[in-house]
Amino acid sequence: MIAWRGVSKSFDGGATQAVDEVTLEAADGGFLAIVGESGSGKSTLVKMLNRLVEPDRGEVLVGGEAVGQGPPHALRRRIGYVFQAIGLFPHLSVAENIGVTPRLLGWPAERIERRVGRLLDLVRLPQAYAQRRPDALSGGQRQRVGIARALAAEPRIVLLDEAFGALDPVTREALASDYRALHDELALTTVMITHDVLEAVLLADRMAVMQTGRVLAQGSARELMGGDAPPYVRELMASPRRQAERVAERLGLGVLNV
């Protein structure tokens, strides 16, 4: 189980709160999407899970334990992290990039090699890519390597920070649905950040909407569209449907019946 309990974080000495008294949970095996505009604090909130950011106040639990217990690097080796800028190591081959965390954990070379081969299959990259350098790959292929690297050490938890945000629509859709399949197959717990409501609705089981450091509402997509949700949340949740209707209208497909 993942939980934030009353966490706050300020980057300007308390003048403004990037994350403001947030309490939130994600169940084991769940797929939680945190949605919000740029600057709403969603990245800050998620980086508290692998201690790329330390909260000023409050408690963060991963697997039922407070994350501040051991050294940060031990925690990070147990949590997969995929982000928009990808951050592949340009001086290492694809195989070395994927195998980096298992190597840090001291796995035997032959086990790492097997794992890398398996991951290339999982993210649907040809085995021949193992010896290539990251700069010889396309953007979508690079992010597939990024996902493989995050999954290499068999983490139970994966964090996706706008992981598909920089990709073209076709690649993005393919990679996102591939990831969802992996999530189910490997029984992962995933926390995804996105500013794209449609992406969140399509992939996640549960959603949390953030604005100016606070969680305005959380629940399933259907719950958030209901009358109890605040106006901003309802407005936000209505946008995919509005877009879909306009698309149908412009393409002459008649009125959508949702």
């Binding site: 790329l52 690097h73 031990a74 990070r76 982000f83 190591f89 954990l105």
Partner: protein, 517 residues
């Protein structure tokens, strides 16, 4: 011509060994200090500004001055160390050169190190943290390899600077390829100057090429390039240092000093040859400034060198009076022994006084034969001097006695001073009475009827530790009172003349033959 090149090649192993030993040590020390400092500067902004500021400041100090400043500093440290522990260290030669050049190497290493480490893609650094690297693993596995090409570019710059500036270490008594340049400049031996420049440039280019291999090896992660570059650097260094190793292990060599003009080179070679004839090992420290040479001798960094009685009397002992020649020599011997423990072995037999000289026809036309005749004419005349004359007490004594005041005063390297007189840029120059060019260039030395300047007997000085050294005394005593001024002038001229030049070493051999020693 080919004879001069052959002579230059004969000196190459010793000069190159000194140059490479110094440059390599300075570069390694620069790296040992620069890389951790670059790391600290990249991590801690509070360190970055002062560190880069200091390194930039050092770079603005002229390299020759930086080298020269370390000598008195180390001399004081050595004296303090001797007082505390009983052991001093050599303040001349290697140490001041090493420290100055390491400081020089610091800026490019530091600047590129900081640029390399702070210029990394933030996404890669974040990924390194997120995959679970400790700060140390992040540095070794990600940051260092990615910053390496930029850092290596800085190391290459540093190496080229250090190898170029190492030629200046000759001036503080360390043998380097600069020995060619300094002595060539003094004796107008342009072949020697070019040879020194060429050798130093070739060394810099080869080193830069090998470091470039290492750089591209790091950038492309090519083991082959890395190995080739590294092995080339190592092999080159070992090969160049071989002459040093061959000389090591034997008895401690004698160190003979020389100031920065032809006569001093010849006399240093004359003394060295006599010592070598006894089977002793000898190294020379050439191109020392007047005061540095005496300090070095008093501190036992030199074993022997030739200085001039009047110079010692006024510049070292700071006397203002000018006693007659025998009395000056007697008192000088006693006071040097008492105050510095330095032994004045004896005079060589000739004087090399500072004299003011003019072209003979010009002096005749103006009816000038003495300094008294010169004084009323001086406001219309231009004086050319060597680099130190105008700062010396002898000059102040002449000005005080005769009321000399020239239209203009310009300092030259001695060689160029004679050229200035010849070309009309100077009307009067501060010549040396033992200089062969006075006769050869048809100059007249103006007399000093009021005796304002002291006598300048060339004298052999021995350091405190070597004062009782039987082999040294035995080799040098036969020179006392054996070198007449005509022989010295002739020897000086063979080195200074334009055509058919001899090297100081050849001139020393000829002089030895001429005086039967």
């Amino acid at each position: 011509m080919s004879e001069q090149v052959r002579a230059a090649f004969a000196l190459l192993p010793a000069y190159l060994a000194g140059h490479v030993a110094l440059s390599a040590a300075a570069l390694v020390l620069g790296l040992l200090v620069g890389l951790p400092l670059a790391l600290a500067s990249a991590r801690i902004p509070a360190v970055r500004l002062p560190a880069l500021g200091f390194a930039s400041l050092v770079q603005t100090i002229p390299s020759l001055a930086l080298l020269a400043l370390f000598y008195p500093l180390l001399l004081a440290l050595s004296a303090a160390a001797r007082a505390m522990s009983g052991h001093g260290f050599a303040a001349l030669g290697f140490l001041p050169s090493l420290l100055a050049l390491s400081l020089y190497a610091l800026l490019p290493i530091l600047r590129n190190g900081v640029a390399g480490l702070t210029g990394l893609d933030p996404a890669v650094v974040e990924a390194a943290r997120a995959v679970g690297m400790t700060p140390r693993q992040r540095l070794i596995q990600v940051e260092a390899p990615l910053a390496a090409p930029v850092v290596m570019a800085g190391v290459r710059t540093a190496a080229v600077w250090v190898i170029g500036a190492a030629t200046l270490s000759t001036a503080v008594g360390w043998t380097s390829l600069g020995d060619y340049i300094f002595s060539g400049l003094q004796t107008e031996n342009w072949v020697l100057v070019l040879f020194g420049c060429g050798a130093s440039a070739a060394l810099a280019l080869i080193t830069d090429g090998l470091l470039a291999l290492v750089e591209t090896g790091l950038a492309r992660r090519s083991r082959l390039r890395l190995a080739l570059g590294g092995a080339g650097l190592l092999a080159g260094t070992v090969l160049a240092l071989a002459p040093l190793a061959a000389g090591a292990g034997g008895p401690k060599p004698y160190v003979i000093g020389a100031k920065n003009f032809s006569e001093q080179y010849i006399l240093a070679d004359l003394m060295s040859d006599r010592l070598k004839a006894t089977g002793a090992r000898v190294v020379q420290r050439s191109d020392l400034g007047s005061v540095i040479a005496f300090r070095a001798l008093a501190a036992n960094d030199l074993d022997a060198y030739v200085d001039y009685s009047g110079t010692l009397w006024t510049n070292v002992l700071h006397h203002a009076d000018t006693p007659p020649r025998p009395e000056l020599l007697r008192r000088l011997t006693a006071e040097l022994k008492a105050r510095y423990g330095v032994t004045l072995l004896g005079p060589l037999g000739f004087e090399n006084a500072y004299v003011l000289a003019m072209k003979r026809d010009r002096a005749n036309a103006l009816h000038i034969v003495s300094l008294s005749d010169l004084a009323p004419r001086a406001p219309a005349l231009k004086l050319g001097s060597d680099l130190e004359f105008l700062s010396r007490p002898e000059w102040r004594a002449l000005v005080g006695t005769y009321g000399l005041s020239f239209r203009a005063q310009t300092r030259y390297q001695p060689t160029f001073m004679y050229r200035a007189l010849e070309g009309g840029e100077a009307d009067v120059i501060s010549a040396f009475s033992s200089d062969g060019r006075i006769a050869a260039d048809h100059l007249v030395a103006l007399s000093d009827p009021m005796g304002a300047a002291p006598s300048y007997d060339a004298v052999i000085l021995l350091s405190p530790h070597s004062s009782a050294d039987a082999r040294l005394r035995g080799a040098l005593l036969p020179l006392v009172n054996r070198v007449p001024v005509q022989a010295m002038r002739a020897a000086n001229l063979t080195v200074d003349r334009d055509a058919d030049k001899l090297t100081p070493q050849q001139a020393a051999q000829a002089l030895a033959k001429a005086i039967g020693r």
